[in-house]
Amino acid sequence: MAFTGELAISTRGLRKTYRRLNGSKHVAVEGLDLDVPVGGVHGFLGPNGSGKTTTIRMLLGLIRADQGTMRVFDQPVPARLPDVVGRVGAIVEQPKFFPNFSGRRNLLLLAGAIGADSRLVEVVLGDVGLADRAKDRYRTYSLGMKQRLAIAATLLKDPDLLIFDEPTNGLDPAGIREIRDVMRGLAGRGKTVLVSSHILAEVEQVADTVSIIARGRMIADGRVSDLLGTGAARTVRVGVAVPGTAGSLLEAQGWTVRRDGHQLLVDGAPDPARITEILARQGLFVDELTPVKVDLESVFLELTAGQGPGTRPPDEHPHGRRAAGSDS
């Protein structure tokens, strides 16, 4: 388990199979162990069709899991979902409301369903900046407005956990930024935000922790900072006059060293300062020392390589590598 401490979401061995029209079965989620710590923004990453939406739907009780257990705020779901649903706000894929009712009417109905004060509707409409379009039919809204109405709806519950499934799909840069600010703002108020996405850059900027899945399996999870510093991510480029000697010295430390022209690429190295120290002790002076700048994107691509749609089925995969979390 990558996270200790309180968990907002925790699944074990979660599995979901869809039946195709021709009767064949398709495994969308395969033994997923997902942990989302309380507080902060948690990115839920995976290529298209990797099972993110399916997992979220199972958590919300919209579809049934075939196997496995799920807990939300330590309550088993879907069994105890009615008890925790008030603490969970969710937007799954596209927001869906009654197209011929106004935004306000849609929210009033939802408020009625949970017994919330109807005055709260005006408040949340104001919060998302929809107050002056609230009387218009939902179907006349732009995508960004629909998205904001959906956020307003989740705020009716004042939830502790917010689940956003690809919230920036189809939004312009301003809209994306706005959503990102909303998520950070919620996390700042102590809420837990689970945001699924296949766009890495987006999550990298807001998420504190991430889980990366491919073909329905967890392949890595942990703090963003740790993931960026593992594997290929923790590579240091070393420029030195006599790469041969330097290479042997560094290999003796147990690090993987590759030659790249006159430079060395050291994988799995700890602190760059250690490298300088070791080499300097032997009278070798480095003329370049740079951590190879990586982002989540490359980690993601590396981890999910060959696991996108149309590649091998999940069963043929060796169990995905899991990054070591900071506190595991």
């Binding site: 739907r57 919300l60 009780g61 919209l62 579809i63 049934r64 879907p78 979902l81 009615p82 649903v85 969970v88 706000g89 969710a90 799954v92 596209q94 927001p95 869906k96 409301f97 009654f98 197209p99 011929n100 009712f101 009417r105 009033l108 109905l109 939802l110 009625g112 369903a113 949970i114 017994g115 959906a150 709806a153 519950k157």
Partner: protein, 336 residues
């Protein structure tokens, strides 16, 4: 309870349901107007003309009577019961334009109104529920109200009670309108009730009390089909699918079976609805077999009555079973 209140609010807010209600109430106003037109007293000119025809007919009849009686006498030598109707009495009514009366025609007008009213009831309930599934709003809804059973029953009950105002207003308009229309033309009493040729055959003549009672049962029937429509909408998810399936059922199953297998009649939907609303319907069942003695193919037609109670029970069972199936489907359904 909270969910039911919200669902009823949603029912009220749907424009389509108002449009359908207005249409059906419009029909309920149109029918009494028609009744008023077709129950007007004949004009003096019409009476005069009818009298002329009647007199002529009477003359012809008088001339013919003797011959008729002779022929009848002859016939009685072989068949003692032969009746040539030679004493046929000429009635002026036969030569007057046909005129509707409350006693004769109010009932059939209400029963005719039953079909469109039930259709509108089903359509309203089905569209009310299916809209949520077709638009996907149900997924959002379930993240606010995750108890599927409660969500389901709140929708079915809301659809069932939601149609009541429409049903009551339209039935009351029709029943009241018919009474007013026939009263205005002073055309309450049946012209045939005292007709010796027809009297014996007459079904029960309509009275205001009977009409009100039938109207009340019609309102209950609308509620029943609304519950059916709501449950089917949960199962099928699209209004068009529900209406299409019902139309296909009525046309293929009820239409064909009704014609082919007389004994299935008591278990079909429409006859039972009719039995419930009309206080019983009569149907005929042909039993055909090769006669043991002659080897001929003979059919005997038996008359059966489908009672009001039978109709009520069958409809109740059908609605109950479909509602339970809908509940099971709702509980197990994967919502996208």
């Amino acid at each position: 309870m909270r969910l039911l209140r919200v669902e009823l609010t949603r029912f009220r807010c749907r424009v389509l349901l108002w449009v359908l209600s207005v249409c059906v109430i419009g029909l309920a106003l149109l029918l009494p107007f028609q009744a008023w037109q077709s129950s007007k007293a004949p004009t003096a000119a019409q009476i005069e003309q009818a009298q002329r025809y009647a007199d002529e007919e009477q003359k012809a009849q008088d001339e013919y009577r003797e011959e008729c009686l002779e022929q009848q006498e002859e016939a009685r030598e072989t068949d003692p019961n032969a009746d040539y109707g030679c004493d046929y009495e000429v009635r002026i009514e036969n030569y007057l334009p046909w005129r509707q009366t409350f006693e004769d025609d109010a009932g059939s007008t209400l029963y005719g109104f039953m079909i469109p009213l039930l259709l509108v009831g089903v359509a309203m309930a089905a569209s009310f529920v299916a809209a949520e599934f077709a638009t996907g709003a149900i997924g959002n809804w379930l993240t606010f109200a995750p108890r599927r059973g409660r969500v389901y029953w709140s929708k079915v009950v809301a659809a069932t009670t939601g149609v009541v105002p429409m049903a009551v207003v339209s039935v009351a308009t029709l029943v009241g309108g018919l009474w007013v229309a026939y009263s205005l033309n002073d055309s309450i009493t049946s012209q045939w009730a005292d007709d010796p040729d027809m009297g014996g055959e007459r079904a029960v003549l309509m009275t205001p009390e009977l009409l009100v009672a039938a109207g009340g049962r019609l309102v209950v029937a609308v509620m029943a089909v609304a519950a059916l429509g709501a449950a089917l909408a949960v199962i099928m998810r699209h209004t068009a699918a529900v209406l299409g399936a019902l139309a296909a059922w009525l046309a293929v199953i009820e239409g064909l079976v009704r014609g082919q297998v007389g004994s299935a009649f008591p278990y079909l939907l429409l006859p039972n609805l009719q039995a419930w609303v009309q206080g019983g319907v009569t149907y005929y069942d042909d039993v055909c077999a090769n006669d043991a003695d002659t080897g001929e193919w003979v059919c005997t037609t038996t008359e059966h009555v489908l009672s009001q109670t039978h109709g009520g029970v069958v409809i109740g069972v059908v609605v109950g079973v479909v509602a339970l199936v809908g509940w099971l489907v709702m509980r197990r359904r994967d919502v996208q």
